[in-house]
Structures are given as C-alpha cells and as structure tokens.
Symmetry: C2
Subunit: 551 residues, 2 copies
Amino acid sequence: MTTRSVTATSFSPRRLGGWGFEGRNFPPSPGLLTWLEKRLGETQPFPVFDPTELAVPKGRSLPDLPLETSAAPLDRLAHSRGQGLTDLLRLRSGTVPAIPDGVARPSDSQEVVAILEGCAAAGVRVIPWGGGTSVTGGVNVIPGNQTVITLDLERLSGLEGLDPKSGLATFGAGTSGPALEEALGPHGLTLGHFPQSWELSTLGGWIATRASGQESLGYGGIDDLVAGLDLVAPAGRLELPPLPASAAGPDLRQLVLGSEGRLGVVTSATVRVRPQPERLEVEAVILPSWEVGIEAARRLTQERVPLSLLRLSDETETEVAMTVGLAGHPWMASLVRRWLELRGVKGGGCLMLLGSAGSAGRVRTTFSRGRALLRTLGAVSLGSRPGRQWLADRFRHPYLRDGLLDRGIATDTLETAAPWTALPAVYRATRRALESALAGYDESTAVLCHLSHPYQDGASLYFTVFFRCPADVDLAIERWASLKRTATSAIVAAGATLSHHHGVGSWHAPWLADEIGSDGVRLLESVTDAFDPQGVLNPTVLVDPKDRLET
Amino acid sequence: MTTRSVTATSFSPRRLGGWGFEGRNFPPSPGLLTWLEKRLGETQPFPVFDPTELAVPKGRSLPDLPLETSAAPLDRLAHSRGQGLTDLLRLRSGTVPAIPDGVARPSDSQEVVAILEGCAAAGVRVIPWGGGTSVTGGVNVIPGNQTVITLDLERLSGLEGLDPKSGLATFGAGTSGPALEEALGPHGLTLGHFPQSWELSTLGGWIATRASGQESLGYGGIDDLVAGLDLVAPAGRLELPPLPASAAGPDLRQLVLGSEGRLGVVTSATVRVRPQPERLEVEAVILPSWEVGIEAARRLTQERVPLSLLRLSDETETEVAMTVGLAGHPWMASLVRRWLELRGVKGGGCLMLLGSAGSAGRVRTTFSRGRALLRTLGAVSLGSRPGRQWLADRFRHPYLRDGLLDRGIATDTLETAAPWTALPAVYRATRRALESALAGYDESTAVLCHLSHPYQDGASLYFTVFFRCPADVDLAIERWASLKRTATSAIVAAGATLSHHHGVGSWHAPWLADEIGSDGVRLLESVTDAFDPQGVLNPTVLVDPKDRLET
C-alpha cells in the first residue's frame, strides 16, 4: 500500500495556481492527448502567469486580534481561491478579482474564539480554510468592500487523543490526510478516508463538506466516521462528545457536517478508526454494458458482498482507461479488446474495479463471492494489474488538470447521487447536457462517467468533462459557467442530488432550493442566522442564491 | 418468524392506563415474583381505577379547524399521557392532572398545515401523537391555561409508494409497526425495525425519537433507515427527497430525526427496506463474566461478524432469565447451572443472545464465525431454545409492567450508550445509583442490565429497575422521580448519553445540557424557534429545562 505511505513531512511547498506540490506532475499521456484532440480539435496552450510578478494590492487594515495575522502578498494570494477550474484559470492568468486582507493561523480554539469575536466587532468577514481544495467556490474571496480574513487551521493539527479499544481518535481539524494516517500508522490503525484530495485536504474540511473517500463503501463517509466534534460558532461553542449513538435530540453533528464554515469553525473532531487492513486489493473486470454494470453494482451492494470500493466506468471512460494503459501497457489495449470480443463483449464494455480490504482470508472470500455473482452477468476478468495501477495513481489524477491546461484543454468534474431506479435517466440527462452544453459556441466536449460509492438504495455518478480552453480567461470561464449551469440544472431536474461529495459552496448554492425546497433553504438560513447572527462566516456559501460561477 | 406475523387488523382496542391491547397480558411468573419479593419485601397491590367512572372535565373551546376534532372524554383521556411509569400510575389511579381539549385526526398533510395555522392563530398548543408510547413524557399534556390539541396521525397510514429495485418504500407517518410490515410482506420486503414498542409505535414516532430496533445491529437504527421525509413545520414545509447520500449542505433529515414533534409534524417518510430474510435465528451462550461478555460483544462487532442482534445480560439479569425459564423450563435452570459449573463458569455467568438474519448459508457462516471467537473467551452454548423463547416473547415484555403493578411492584427501564472503554464505569455508576436511590425511603431496588445495540465504538446499556410501589400515587411518583434523578445524573456524569433510543421528551430535558452543553441547548432552541416561532408544537419537550418528573 504505497499510496498510504506518503509522509506529510516529505512534501515540498504547495503550488500556487495549480494542484498539489511543486515539482510533482502527472502529465497527460500521448494516448490521452490524441484521444482528446480527435474529439475537441486542435488546442492552444493556456498561458501561465508568474504569480510573484503580480502587483498584489495592499490589504485593508486588519482588526486588533490577539495573534499575528499574515499580510504577505503571496500568502494572501495563495488563500484567495480553492481548486475549482475557474480558480486555476484565475490564478494561472493572474486575474484573481479579490484576495483576503490577511491570513490568521490560530494555535488553539481559544484563539479561534478571539478571532471570531474580534472580527464580529470590527465587521470583518472570516473564511475558514482547511486544505483549500474546494471545487465549489467554498473558500473564495468575493469582491466587495468588507475586510476579509482567511482563517487557516493548519496549526490545529495532530493527534490529540486515542482510545484504541473503542477505535476513537481525536485530531485537530487542520490535520491533513497524510498527517492523520501517519499519526495512526504506528498504532496499526487507519481512518480509511481517502478522497482524491487526500494529500491536501484536512479533517475539518472533510467535515465541512460532508466528504466521502474512495473506500467509503467499506469505511463509510465522513458523516459515518465522525463520532464527536468541537465547533466554535459566533453564537457559542458546540462540544459534542464522541458517542456511538444517541437519541438525545437531533444529531447536531449532522448539522455541522456539510455546514461549509457557515455555522462555525470546526476545531477538532473524534473519528472512528479501525485496524489497518492486512491487505487492500483491487480487481478489474469488464462488464458487457453500462446497464449490466449498474445492475452488477446494485446486486453486489444489496447482496452485501463486503467490498471496500466499487467503481464502474461507462463505455467512454473504459475506452480512455484502455488508451492510457490501465490494461497494463497501451499496446495491450487492442489485445484486451480482442480477448473481450472472443468472450462476447462488444464495443469494449465497461470497466469495473472492485476493492477489498482486510485479512488475506477476508479478501479471498469477498472476491470469490463477487466473482460468482459477476460471472452470471457475463463479466470478464482483467486480473489485478489495472487495480494496482489505479491505486498507484489515485492521488496523482488531480495533477492531470494542470498538464491538460498547459495544452489548452480544460477539464472539470461533476458528481451526484440518486436511487438505483433513477440512475440510468440521471446518467443520460447529465451526459446529454454535458455533451451539448457548448454547442452554442460551436465547441465539442468529451465526457466520461463512472458510478462509485454504491449504497443499498443508490449510488453516485461522477462525470469528467473536457473542452477546449480559450486563451482568454474570461471567455474560458464563460464557457465553463455555461456548461456548469446546463449540467447542474439537468442533474437536479432528474431528481438527483446537487452533490454527493463536493458540497454546495457558492457555485451550487443557487440550485439548493431544487433539492431541499425553498422552505428548506429558508429554514437552513435561519439556522445559520442562529449560529452566526452577524454573518461573519463565509456568507456567500450554502444559502446564498446568487450565481457566482463567473466570479 | 411468528413474531412478525401479527396483523394490524387483528388487534383489539388499546388498553387505557396500561400497555397494549385489551385482553392481552403477560403476567409475571411465580418464579419472578418470588425472586422480587425476596429482594424488595412483601408488596401491596397498586389500585386500578375504572377510567369510565372518571368525571373528565369539559374541554376548553376549540379553534375553528377544517376538520372534525374529537372532544369525547375517553378519547381525550386516552391521549393525555404516554407509556412511562408515571403515566401508567396516573392513568391507573385516575389522577391525570391535565388532558387535551380535543383530538384532531388529519387525513393528509394539507390538513396538518391547516391545523398548525389555525392553532397558531388561536394560540393553541399542539402535541403530535404517533403510537403514544413515549416513556419520556414526550406526548404528555402539561397543566396550564392554554388550550391543547393532540394531533393523532393514525389516518396518515399505509404504503404510499414502493421502489423495490432501490429498496425504498414511502409510508404515512402514522403507520404502525405491524401495519408497515404487513404492507411490505407481500413484496417479500422488511424494514427490519423492531423496537419493543413495535406493536403500537409508528414510523413518525420512530423518527421523532430517533428510535432503534432490537435488530439495529443488522438493519441500522431509524436514522440509518430514513432516506427521505416530509415535515410540516409552522414556519414552512420540508420535503426532503429520498437520496442514498448527499453533500448538499447539512443533513436536514438528521435534524428532524430526534426532534420529538418540536420542529414540526412528520407526515410521511421514505425508508430503506430489504428482502425478508429467509431465516432469523437466535443462539444463546453463557460467558464466564460481565467483563468477558463486554469484551466478547466488542470483538464480535469490531471484527464485523455480521450478526443482526447481540444482547448480553449481566449476572443478575441472567439469573432472572434462568428463573423465569429462558433455559427451557424453570426446572432446567439448576441443571443448566450445574452444567456451567462443570464447564468452569462460576456464579451463573452472563447470558448472550446472538441473532443472525439471512439465507441459511449466511446464518450458518455467521454463527460459525461467532462461535469460533466466543470459544476463545470461554463461552458455553445453550443452543437455540432460549433465543426462540425470547423471540416469541419480545413484544410481550411491556405487558409485564401492568401485571407487576397489579402486585404492587413498579418497574421502569433506563438506557444509555457509551464508548467501549467507558462502558464498565458507566455500568457500575448507574447500577450503584439505581441500587441506592431509594435508601432514603428505606426501600430496596432490584436492578437488571443488558448490553445491546453494539457499534464499532461502543454499545448501549439497558437497565431495568424494580421497587415496591406505594398505593399512594403521589408517594409512588415521588419515589420514582427520586430514582430517575439519581440514575440520570449518574449516567451523564459518567459521560454516557442521556438516551440511546428513548429520547429526551420532557423528563430528560433538564439534563440535555450535560450532553450537548448549555450553548448546544441554546443553539438547538434557536433552531426550534426558527421552525416554530410561536412555540405551537409540544413546547415542553427537548429544550425545556424544567423538571417535570412529578407532573
């Protein structure tokens, strides 16, 4: 499990205006570029601006706070935006419209209390910041007259308490994925929460956005993993003890999970941890079609085959996977295709990855149950090589976006979830929307999709879309916004959720009423008013219906 | 599975002032009475009053509502109290201090809206009512000057929609346990939610109180089972669609779960259902001690042996179980004791019931894994007979309370949950509190406990306490209140939850701040204010700190 051995301390500095760490890259393969150019046409590189050359405007004066607040231009710039596509485009092109006036780094929750009090008194806005990896505009500074401070929680990091017998570990909210697993490792424990952003994102951020890791089928989402938490809200503190379950009123943990820094600042949390599995193995099979693949995913889940991960690519994503070499080497793709044809699979079929974690015996039994079920649906095994490759690359994928932008190809992802019966229609509607969204610009898109995070009653769909990125940043963002509006409207119109794990942020907020109703948004807003009566915290996320896609 | 074949239509009328249905009884066995008298001393019957002889005061005049509202004295009396011990004592003795002025039975959610509007305008209080089985004062009418209407949801009953492929079924909130399973039966489906109150309690009530069924280890608690719901609140309607998961903001479902009618009226819900298991089997073993039993429960759960039920009785409860004949026949108890002594179990040991639901093969594999683990801890098998007996009696146990009161023995139950590491101390502190609570009255108690509803990080403890019931109702209630105060304070002081599945109601409300903090209660109160600005709904539950144990 080399994917988990990345150490927090080994990282180089964060890249400004791109994913991850300086010096790390995941350039697109020639096969992928050829595949994309065939669909999108020829592309022009999207320019890269040197951020150190930007004349960052001086920040507004800061309120009197009991801790030093950084006003360094590059520090402020680095905290101006998340990691959504427009964020990259703005940062790369040096056209960020607003940056925070200061960056505060509290060392304990008392300092968080003091910051919120000081900012409330001075009329200053506060944006809580974990790993800064929001892809929904969740940490972005919005242009305006108000002073803005970003509250970076990186100093609230590390293991604060451990009860191995109960499987409970308390961490500072600013603890990153690698730092968290590194602290649990010596105790033979793991949280099992591995979102794609894992190298950068933090426990507090996972809680704020109701994140799900890639192995949530086995370990649960962060909403299952959080047993207790501390929240500093402008109107008071919530210190919810770790309890296995409670019927003592509504579960206030679940109100904080998904609150996106709008209700308060999560300062620490107690999470449910488990023994590190002896093994984590991922097997690959090909299913004859997307429809049969969905059926297979549903049955594997409802018949409770204890997988830790399940992922089904649609025909297009499978084709790309073959092209980039998931079958072993690129040249093997045609060999695999012929093998599949011999086994009766026409048109390439759909790739399914199945993960199992546990003892050797448990992994064996799980796969044997899974295989027996899949055989009845015409699955053809590809063995363990594609899974090993996927595991090795899974945290590298986000780097691909920057490499593609270098070539002038923009890529974004959208995700949702729906009951099993609704999934085929949600898939068709969203794919159709993404495919046709740029027709008005005479531009094509390429769309991939996979089903993942299956539940007894439904699953998530994850779409990746590619389009030619104009060198003019405003034009590029206009196209993206148009595409995003079309696709999001299609998702909610199909009755699927606005987000399975990316959250609402400010970009999805205009559609929240489509999911929980306008009364639901109003009631949620009255809850945010109760926790944060003056609107100090991140007021443009969650319940603010203004379309900010082009900010 | 005869326990599930009870049909809703076969029930006789509800008993007034006692559990369940007229004509059904579960009298205490001579063995139990002897065991109790030995510990408590001789007892005098608690009198029974004929409710039809009570001069029920005329109700206050009702507001103008668009549906007929019952003002019949016995109907109002039947809706005056839940099923807690003081409720039984008050009803049996004809000393109920307040009853509702009317009982409204809406037929659809529009009528619920109209009732809430009409009552808000007229300053009338509304108490939502499902099965009326609260044991926390959750549906009780509190004496006062305000007009009170009980909103009985029995007409919002039945299956409204079914999606078998996704395993989703929509029911009216007033659907009772038997009616719900009866509607799912022909489709080969089950909800798997079997609280002890199942014969009487309703889906809406389960949601309002965050209930857990006896098989929650396999099926999950009601908070896991609810995918979507409709809530009519005075400030608006929440129509939350059934989604397998969502990161679109805080989970508002989880705000409604446990809201105890304080935020609004649940009118319908979509629940996650599963194929009826081919089998449900319960095996019994004896563990050498309570401590070893807890260790066994923890390991079975953390090592993910897929049981649907686990229940560990402490030494005293085990002794009683043997006495009443769970070993087969009462005379077998001594035989069993000798058998255990031969196998090295001193002092009777602790009874553990393990349930498994599913195909014959799954049940076999599960028990075989369970047995292998338990053998290493010195468990001795008692076979399947005690389990069959327990299954046959599990919904009859609440009737026992009335039979004991007939003999002048009061009994009540308390429950909590805590992390595994804390459980032994919580057990000791609560048991000690219950044992000594009536020392000031020179009275003894008898205390039983079992561990159930295990989770990865902890489990629930369920205490049963017996004491001599004075024939004077006020004296009886004073003793109960004293005992309840002592035990509840001990539970929260030990860091355990105020309730695992009974809820807060009005009786636990004074201690809520011990669990979620005073800020937590204040913030929760501001949420209730947002949903119900005029305090129309059940204002004495959840966030009202007044001690009402003796009402």
